[in-house]
């Protein structure tokens, strides 16, 4: 892959980071091969994740207490907006389940002026193998999001997204814990931003499976979404 100059310096990758010291170094190095600007928002990790990310070349913004992934993303957005040269932001999970090539293709679609927001979807092509139960839960999450937000997506809870600066200023996340994924979708819908979906691959490794969201957590997401 091309280094440094591959992607202009107007793109920031925002990585919400919590207790991922084992993998975040590789994730950041992989990202930095394409995107020179990577910011990890460390959400109060106690396993040295922040140091690992910094050593790998990421800027680190550190929450001194754990606030939740939604809060971390919004902090990352605020950080990006402070850089006047920033035009695009990518959200990218710290556990290595996304691929950098997908992120790059999504930014390119923003750059081409196709949309203000590009959502990653694991259901648009056959690359990602999803276990049946997980598929069912994700499908119902999608049905719920489509019903309540008016935005028709195929994958509601994918951590890989690309947003233009315009979208960053108009989407403000107030769901601090897990319900932020639906919140982004609904705010994109109500702000009448232009959006597209992009097929992405999710790499379910043993690591991500062990760390990943328990399906029970979808109950929490539902409650947070309804009660606000």
């Amino acid at each position: 892959m091309v280094t440094g100059e591959g992607e202009p310096r107007d793109t920031w990758v925002v990585v919400p980071l919590y207790q991922e010291a084992a993998v975040v170094g590789d994730v950041v190095r992989e990202l930095r091969a394409v995107f020179p600007r990577v910011v990890c928002v460390d959400d109060g990790s106690r396993d040295g994740s922040a140091g690992v990310a910094r050593a790998a070349g990421a800027r680190v913004v550190r929450h001194c207490i754990n606030l939740g992934q939604g809060a971390a993303l919004q902090t990352g957005f605020d950080f990006v907006l402070r850089d006047p040269a920033a035009r695009f932001a990518v959200t990218f999970d710290a556990d290595g389940q996304h691929t950098v090539a997908d992120a790059r293709a999504m930014v390119q679609r923003l750059r081409d002026g196709e949309a203000d927001v590009v959502f990653g979807s694991r259901f648009l092509d056959g690359r990602t193998a999803v276990a049946p139960v997980r598929r069912a839960v994700l499908r119902s999450a999608v049905a719920w999001t489509n019903l309540t937000t008016g935005v028709r997506l195929t994958d509601a809870h994918n951590g890989l997204r690309a947003l233009s600066r315009e979208a960053l200023t108009r989407v403000r996340l107030t769901h601090h814990r897990m319900a932020h994924a639906s919140e982004i979708v609904s705010k994109v819908g109500s702000a009448r931003l232009r959006w597209v979906e992009h097929p992405v691959e999710i790499r379910y490794t043993d690591y991500s499976r062990a760390k990943g969201q328990s399906l029970l957590n979808s109950v929490n997401i539902l409650v947070e979404t309804i009660l606000g």
């Binding site: 550190r62 929450h63 402070r82």
Partner: protein, 143 residues
């Protein structure tokens, strides 16, 4: 029956309380009035033992004890709803505070790095990589 209607209304009110913001002063005033009423109710039921049963019969509840139980359930649910809202509001403020702190810290780091770089740039030969080989001044390395 009258009591059923009353209970349903109470649950509906609590339901709306759960999804609406309950941090303004009017809500606080209502909460305090309710607490005072609750205290008066307790005092009356002690001073005039038959009164609760009398009210219960008018409302279509068999015994005063049952009415007290229903009242307790309603009060408890209301308490749960109100504290959920207040916790959420508190959490939001905590998030704002922590975020501000995190971003300010990041800016400080940025300035520190820039300062160190410019200092090294002035002293050493140009092209020296910042942070490598250059001797940091006293207290410059924090991590």
């Amino acid at each position: 029956m009258l009591i059923q209607a009353l209970l349903l209304v109470a649950f509906a009110v609590i339901g709306t309380l759960l999804v609406r913001d309950a941090t303004d002063v009017r809500h606080q005033a209502v909460r305090r009035i309710l607490i005072v009423l609750f205290g008066l109710f307790a005092a009356v039921s002690v001073l005039v033992p038959g009164s609760v049963s009398w009210v219960a019969e008018r409302l279509g509840v068999g015994r005063g004890t049952d009415l007290v139980l229903y009242g307790t359930v309603v009060a408890f649910l209301g308490f749960v709803a109100a504290s959920y809202r207040r916790m959420r509001a508190l959490e939001s403020r905590l998030v704002e505070l922590t975020r501000r702190l995190a971003l300010d810290e990041a800016r400080e780091d940025e300035l520190e790095v820039a300062l160190r770089r410019s200092r090294e740039g002035a002293g050493d030969e140009p092209g020296a990589r910042p942070g490598e080989g250059a001797r940091p001044g006293p207290g410059a390395e924090r991590r």
